[in-house]
């Protein structure tokens, strides 16, 4: 099994005229601070007077931690303004659209796992969020993802999108032929060869799984701008 949970405790990026610091609150505070110190010291004079934005990636409810780190930065470095990133879930649509359109996704860590090649019988792949495979998935293989599953190839085997309980997830492939499909808590078994050719996707409608022609019912067609996922 492949483990993709190895994420750096602190990521530092240049953003516009300033710096963007993303911390992973699952690491101990002392470790986070030591890592921030190390990274900022490496920047030397470049960090002086830089405007800094602090955020916690996908984790929320970490305001106190962020506040303590902010104070630490104020006391130990000669930075410009220190701001905390807007709460992800509460940004209004208008601002989100602006963020997406102004390439705000540059600052967002993505949990998409993308793999290239053939997934064979007996191989199991787990992705925390979305899973993209450019290649075929053979009978006997198993895919599980917290979000969507996209296969640019033939999809056989067992697939579970939206693990454990998100039935808003979808499963897409260029040739859709899995033996078992699960989305969130809903399960369906494959009906063997469908005879239908071309790209299809599965999603949940009224508590059951439906498989649709992607070219006719493209689920993303109505989305007016490209959104960070």
């Amino acid at each position: 099994m492949i483990n993709f949970d190895n994420i750096a405790p602190v990521k530092l990026k240049g953003a516009g005229g300033g710096l963007w610091i993303t911390i992973d609150p699952s690491h101990p505070e002392s470790e986070l601070i030591a890592e921030i110190d190390r990274l900022l010291k490496k920047l030397k004079h470049l960090a002086i007077n830089a405007d800094v934005t602090l955020d916690t990636g996908d984790a929320d409810g970490q305001e106190e931690l962020v506040e303590r780190i902010k104070i630490h930065l104020e006391n130990n470095f000669e930075l410009g303004t220190i701001s905390t990133s807007p709460q992800k879930r509460s940004i209004p649509t208008e601002r989100r659209r602006q963020r997406d359109l102004s390439k705000g996704w540059n600052h967002h860590k993505s949990d998409v796992l993308m793999l290239r090649g053939r997934v064979r019988s007996g191989q199991k792949i787990n992705a925390r969020k979305h899973l993209v495979i450019t290649g075929d998935v053979n009978p006997g293989a198993e895919l599980t993802a917290g979000g969507d599953i996209i296969v640019l190839g033939t999809l056989a085997g067992k697939v579970h999108a939206g693990y454990p309980g998100n039935d808003g997830a979808m499963i897409f492939s260029l040739a859709f032929n899995p033996s078992l499909v699960k989305i969130g808590l809903i399960t369906a078994t494959g009906a063997g060869e469908s005879g239908i050719q071309g790209p299809e996707f599965a999603c949940v409608e009224q508590d059951s799984i439906v498989v649709k022609n992607y070219m006719k019912d493209n689920p993303f067609k109505r989305m007016p701008w490209p959104e960070v996922i």
């Binding site: 053939r118 019988s121 007996g122 075929d136 053979n138």
Partner: protein
């Protein structure tokens, strides 16, 4: 120059590993190579029977690995084909007497004495499989055109890649009439899923059973379609580029396949 160790494996049992090992070994010897066939199927001795050598066994692979005898003492010379030797399995010993390290040591000696060492592995992906692949330089996967054999072969291919071996494929027991009637997967269906280099297609042939019952090498029978397929497979493994013949109801039709078909 050091010889090459080729492991013959399948995942599923009864698909033709032993048949392929003995035939490819014999065919490589007919090409003038020094060949040792090694039976890794401990507890189920059977290559010696297929090759008609069971009455001449004195030592076996376990004796070699445990240092009770030299490789030369255990290797039985084939009665009909020069340069062909068998290291038999042990029927009495427990499966776990062989270890990867022990097999590795034996393979090192064999590589110095032979051009090709062909290992017949037991079905499954347990200890016996480990032992068979540990010293391999090349791997050949045998698959029959049915769903469960393909599933198991796929599994084994994944495991072989994980050991940096790029396996080659033989599809065995093809029945053209049943493929034509849609009762059997075609070799293309198999290749579609496994997508590794194909080294040969072997038809169903009643001569296979006759040959193993009488202990006469299949590849010496000019009227055996399977035997002739294995001779071509051996040539390909030995580096020759010859077209792959597709078993067909009309045996005169040859189809030429690109060398990298199904892979790139």
């Amino acid at each position: 120059m050091e010889g090459k160790v080729i492991v013959v494996t399948s995942g599923k049992g009864g698909v033709g590993k032993t048949t392929a090992t003995s035939s490819i070994g014999a065919a490589l010897a007919l090409e003038g190579k020094r060949v040792a066939i090694v039976d890794m199927d401990i507890g189920l001795r059977n290559l010696d029977v297929v090759m008609g050598l069971e009455n001449r066994i004195v030592f076996n692979i376990v004796d070699v690995v445990q240092g009770k005898c030299k490789v030369d003492q255990a290797a039985i010379r084939d009665r009909r084909i020069d340069n062909l030797f068998l290291i038999p399995a042990s029927q009495s010993d427990n499966k776990d007497v062989l270890t990867p390290a022990g097999v590795e040591r034996m393979a090192k000696v064999l590589r110095q004495k032979f051009d090709y060492v062909i290992m017949d592995s037991p079905a499954g992906i347990e200890r016996g499989f480990e032992n068979s692949v540990v010293s391999a330089n090349e791997a050949v996967v045998i698959c029959t055109p049915d769903v469960s054999a393909v599933r198991d072969a796929d599994r084994v291919i994944g495991l072989l890649y994980a050991r940096s071996l790029e396996p080659k494929l033989i599809v065995n027991r093809i029945e053209p009439a049943r493929v034509e009637r849609g009762e059997m997967l075609s070799y293309k269906d198999v290749l579609d899923i496994l997508s590794i280099e194909l080294v040969g297609l072997v038809p169903m042939d009643e001569k296979v059973l006759i040959s193993s019952n009488t202990g006469t090498p299949l590849v010496l029978q000019n009227d055996s379609t399977a035997g002739q397929s294995f001779r071509r497979i051996a040539k390909r493994l030995n580096g020759e580029t010859i077209p792959i013949e597709v078993p067909n109801l009309k045996p005169s039709v040859w189809t030429k396949l690109g060398k990298t078909f199904g892979l790139k």
